[in-house]
Symmetry: C2
Amino acid sequence: MEKQILKVVKIGGKLIEDENKLREFLKDFCALPFPKILVHGGGTMATKLAEKLGYETKMVDGRRITDANSMKVITMVYGGLINKNIIAKLQAIGTNALGLCGADAGTIISKRREIKEVDFGFVGDIERVNTGFISSTLQQNITPVFSAISYDGRGELLNTNGDSVAAEIAKAMAGIYDVELFYCFEKKGVLTDVENDESVIEDIDEQLYRQLLNRGIISEGMLPKLQNCFEALNNGVSKIFLGDSNLLKKNAIHTKIVK
Amino acid sequence: MEKQILKVVKIGGKLIEDENKLREFLKDFCALPFPKILVHGGGTMATKLAEKLGYETKMVDGRRITDANSMKVITMVYGGLINKNIIAKLQAIGTNALGLCGADAGTIISKRREIKEVDFGFVGDIERVNTGFISSTLQQNITPVFSAISYDGRGELLNTNGDSVAAEIAKAMAGIYDVELFYCFEKKGVLTDVENDESVIEDIDEQLYRQLLNRGIISEGMLPKLQNCFEALNNGVSKIFLGDSNLLKKNAIHTKIVK
């Protein structure tokens, strides 16, 4: 029997902060056929709250350190403010949504990142996604909405990269569904010229990816995203789409990635 | 066939703020036989965050007004910080918990309180508890943990009295289960003398309640709590227990209320 298609959609922080874009995006998400899953972070909303509270944002080599205060802020902003407002908005337009972080029903277990040169603090790398509860939720026609928080199984919540949360959920669900992964971010897709928003590469497969890599065309910011994409494709995800807040609309310009 | 017992437990804000008491309480909650549901508010933690953010707490006739900023704070503190940390802690000690606000899976629909003399802002009075998702969660051996937030079905989250959330869930679930309701607050139970913590009335039924009312023995703070209790008992809840953070322990002093 053919597997049912499951769409896993990640929205980036900048999209969440723009109330009009978010409203429009949620309408598009609502119009997607069931089953589907939404994943969100919170980005600069957390940074802004931390600033207001007088918490210092610590960076090492350009990377953020999640200390105890930062983790509190992330739990408030991602797990509370953003997640619950998205749920209320989706409910109002006809999507029966359920807000989750990785601790809820034990869905996403991660391991606190080991301290090598840098102690990143409360940051987790995902070890396991428990599909049981997610599947039963989907079977009840309920749409899970995950904030980018996981937990270590020993009582600690951990800040976790939103792209990775989406990819790991997609990979874990690929055993049950034909999974398509959508990344909505600031750009219309993978660009040949970072300065030119219209230079979207419409289709990328592994062969073209290697060529682009060799020719140095992929920008540094896109590298981990694309690495994640091929890792997901090599682990059962069938298609990946990259684009901006219009990605879920029909005929929107985007990049499609397949193996 | 006899109905299975379901315990609905409400913990008060002051208990949540005391880390040691909370840890001990969660251990006791974890030891309760399944099925069970936890309900929490957040009380002064929200007030403290609002103060830190420079938001004014507006009061009219001694009652708090939930303006847009207060509602944001409540969503962050109740729905995020407190709820998700309780979930992570319960998971660590063996309770497969799921954090919910009333918008999640459309569980608790309320109506924004009408503006009469006072506009209370984003405050909701519960209209309906949808038992379907709660029941299916319990059937999967998962323990729902509700923050005291509901939603109006039109996109707004609403601040909702935690005691009422617990009572309305208890009443709604009474059709399916033999429901026992537990209120853990600062006192050991209903006291004959507010100044004397040891003056706990161990058993109250409707007859004694009327006598105590007539004799003016019930303190003003306890009146709405007891009114809620009898309303719940008149709507199918079988027993109610009132006590402090030790209420879930065997042999703890408490007040038991029956019809």
